[in-house]
């Protein structure tokens, strides 16, 4: 789960990480009030969406598609500019490098006091899969894409790891602050900030905290000028407060519904729907469809605990996508029994009136019984023995130039 910048900064503030004063707004009027309240000559007017690259993104009218403004983060020098920028942002579609062409409608705005920047840094905390511990990564080149820095100037990136049992060691924080060239007050503040961020990471079960830029201001203070925080969903059970931070408009509605049925679904751009048990096999099914010249419409793992209801829901979700012209069901029965899936497929197709071609491949537990159930039904379904045959069949049945 991701949260907005304004929420991340409130969390930073509570955790003892310095931020500049800002106010979350939902309208132009509140943005103007925020400007008055902040009493800062210069303010930043910032679009709040979960994707990055906001500053370099463009705002479009959601209906006409006309360009409204370049840049989703603006520096305003007057009340009038606050009005101008906030009206260009709220309700419009922000397209950034990370949103895809369709962009995101901006409903939330953050108006923030200005900050006299002396230098911009990059700072991130994440779980390092290879070292199996929390990695803290910092760079003297802030405000730009870290991937770019990693490619062009890797020596600018410095890394330390927190010990999973001992915690973040002070000597490591000190060495990181030193390698960023910080001294005096800035150095001390950096060490304190690293500690605070590490504690927050553990306490809130984060999966990532990224501050880009982290800035040193003219008086040597270290301030988080941006904030991106993601949480580990597996730890939701010990953080009920997360529900209040959730912005459902940022999440794919269909993925949430799939999740409620114990399904794992990701929409793709192709025309062949997939219904598979197991994440690895679901990915492999997509890959093989592509290998035979087709395009998968989705990733869908029905999981080990699938039932007739969840399989019906899976068909409904697949068919909501109007691009779907055929469905491949690929089941390797382990705990799941193929004959149960076969009966569920028949019932689901009756219930929702399945019209597109259907290819079913069963293997494993009760696959012979499963095939017999399908063969004796009057459903228009093709059964195959292997995944490759199944993929080939569904691709030939959905080929547009057939």
């Amino acid at each position: 789960m991701n949260i907005h910048e304004y929420q991340a900064k409130a969390m930073f503030n509570d955790s003892g990480i310095k931020v500049v004063k800002g106010i979350h707004c939902l309208s132009i009027e509140t943005a103007l009030k925020a400007y008055d309240k902040l009493e800062s000559k210069v303010v930043a007017v910032k679009s709040q969406i979960h994707a990055g690259g906001r500053g370099k993104g463009n705002l479009y009218d959601p209906e006409s598609g006309n360009l409204i403004m370049e840049g989703g983060v603006k520096i305003a020098f007057s009340r009038k500019e606050v009005e101008e920028y906030s009206s260009a942002i709220i309700g419009n579609r922000l397209v950034t490098k990370q949103t895809g062409k369709e962009g995101k409608i901006v409903n939330n705005l953050y108006v923030e006091s200005g900050c006299e920047i002396d230098h911009e840094y990059y700072l991130a905390l994440l779980v390092d899969r290879e070292n199996k511990s929390i990695l803290i990564m910092a760079s003297t080149e802030g405000g730009v894409d870290i991937e770019e820095v990693a490619e062009k100037n890797p020596q600018a990136i410095h890394k330390i790891w927190a010990d999973p049992l001992e915690g973040l060691l002070e000597r490591d924080s000190i060495s990181l602050a030193t390698s960023l060239g910080l001294s005096g007050k800035s150095h001390d503040e950096m060490v304190i900030m690293l500690n605070a961020l590490h504690s927050m990471f553990l306490e809130k079960d984060c999966s990532m905290i990224e501050i880009n830029p982290l800035v040193r201001n003219k008086s040597g203070e270290m301030i988080a000028l941006d904030g991106k925080v993601s949480f580990d969903d597996s730890a939701d059970f010990r953080h009920p407060w997360r529900n209040h931070l959730r912005d459902l408009s940022e999440e794919e509605d269909v993925e949430i519904r799939a999740h409620e049925h114990g399904l794992s679904y990701v929409k793709l751009d192709g025309n062949i729907g997939c219904l598979v048990n197991g994440a690895g096999l679901a990915m492999a099914s997509m890959d093989v469809i592509k290998l035979y010249g087709g395009e998968p419409a989705n990733f869908l793992d029905i999981g080990g605990g699938a039932t007739r209801e969840s399989i019906t829901a899976a068909f409904e979700i697949i068919l909501e996508d109007k691009n779907v012209e055929g469905i491949l069901v690929n089941i390797f029965g382990g705990i799941i029994q193929c004959d149960m899936v076969a009966r569920s497929v028949i019932e689901a197709s009756k219930e929702i009136g399945l019209e597109v071609p259907l290819v079913v491949r069963f293997s494993g537990t009760n696959h012979i019984e499963g095939k017999a159930v399908l063969d004796s039904s009057n459903l228009n379904v093709h059964t195959t023995k292997t995944l490759a045959e199944g993929a080939e069949k569904i691709v030939s049945l959905t080929r547009r130039d057939k």
Binding site: R129, S234, S264, V266, A279, V288, G334
Partner: protein, 306 residues
């Protein structure tokens, strides 16, 4: 021989009185796995019938190991308690001659796993497989040793070692070996979580040293760089042929594909990179899982093994 488990392994089930523990415990015993007991805190002293076998329940791992001399533990404990179950098992095994822990549980918080894996690191005689995996199986002549949720009947004793991040795709690989009349020495599911215990390299190393294993099938998926590291390691250390497949060539960037660890981020962890690393390391590549059998035959023939 085989790796890590065999017909003499003595298995405990942590979470034996839960629905999953009871169901899979029964399936394991029906496969003739030597389940010697179970652990559920607060339910010690109870007896539970699994298939036709009466199994004793203990309160703690220490107690259970003391009473049974078990050397393997299988964890079906719910996600929120699973990491402490792993740590409890690790400490108990370390004090009692060592052991293998297999954690099936899916959805354990990642920072819990960071801690659990660090604890395992302090127990040199303990190995963890998983979490979020199907487990490990060594097929025997009649049944065998099945420590996990895989369907036992698809396996047969043989000379192919299988290691995989995925569950059902492992079964697919097993079926592929069977389709070319090859059986398995041991099949290990290492799981699809970003932080886990045993990795590809541990398995390859063990297969290389295992006289029963003559070739290996390795199944990876997008996310992280474990496949690349394993390929690099294999090119220097493996004499036995390896057949490799990676799932997720068509996965979009930034989207988690079911498994917590299956995500391409910042352009890293793609199937293309992993396939390339496999090829560079001399691993026989199958682009389609239905081809694993044929590619395996080619690898065996090239090495004079068939």
């Amino acid at each position: 021989m085989s790796i890590w488990i065999n017909e003499d392994s003595k298995i405990l089930i942590q979470g034996i009185t839960g629905k999953q523990g009871t169901f899979h415990g029964t399936m394991m015993i029906e496969y003739r796995t030597n389940v010697v007991g179970g652990v559920t805190p607060g339910k010690g002293g109870q007896k539970i019938m699994l298939s036709n076998k009466e199994v004793e329940v203990y309160n703690t791992m220490s107690e259970a190991i003391g009473a049974t001399n078990a050397n393997v533990s299988l964890i079906y404990v719910p996600a929120r308690f699973a990491a402490s179950a792993i740590i409890e098992a690790a400490n108990a095994f370390q004090e009692n001659g060592g052991g293998l822990i297999v954690c099936i549980t899916e959805g354990i918080p990642i920072l819990d796993m960071v801690k659990a894996v660090a604890n395992i690191g302090k127990c040199p005689d303990v190995r963890l497989i998983g979490p979020n995996c199907p487990g490990i199986i060594t097929p025997g002549d009649d049944g065998g040793c099945k420590v996990g949720i895989m369907p036992g009947f698809i396996h047969s004793k043989g000379r192919i070692g299988i290691v995989s991040k995925s569950g059902t795709l492992t079964y697919e690989a097993v079926a592929q070996t069977m389709s070319v009349n090859e059986g398995q020495s041991t099949c290990v599911g290492i799981g699809g979580d970003p932080v886990n215990g045993t990795g590809f390299i541990d398995c390859l190393d063990a297969f290389e040293k295992d006289p029963q294993t003559e070739a290996i099938v390795m199944i990876g998926e997008i996310g992280g760089s474990a496949e690349e590291e394993a390929a690099e390691w294999a090119s220097k250390n493996m004499t036995k042929p390896i057949v490799g497949f990676v799932a997720g060539s068509t996965a979009p960037e930034g989207k988690r594909m079911g498994h917590a660890g299956a995500i391409i981020s910042g352009g890293k962890g793609t199937a293309q990179e992993k396939f390339a690393a496999f090829e560079a390391a001399g691993i026989y590549v199958a682009r389609d899982p239905s081809e694993i059998g044929n590619v395996l035959v080619k690898a065996l023939k090239d090495c004079g093994l068939r």
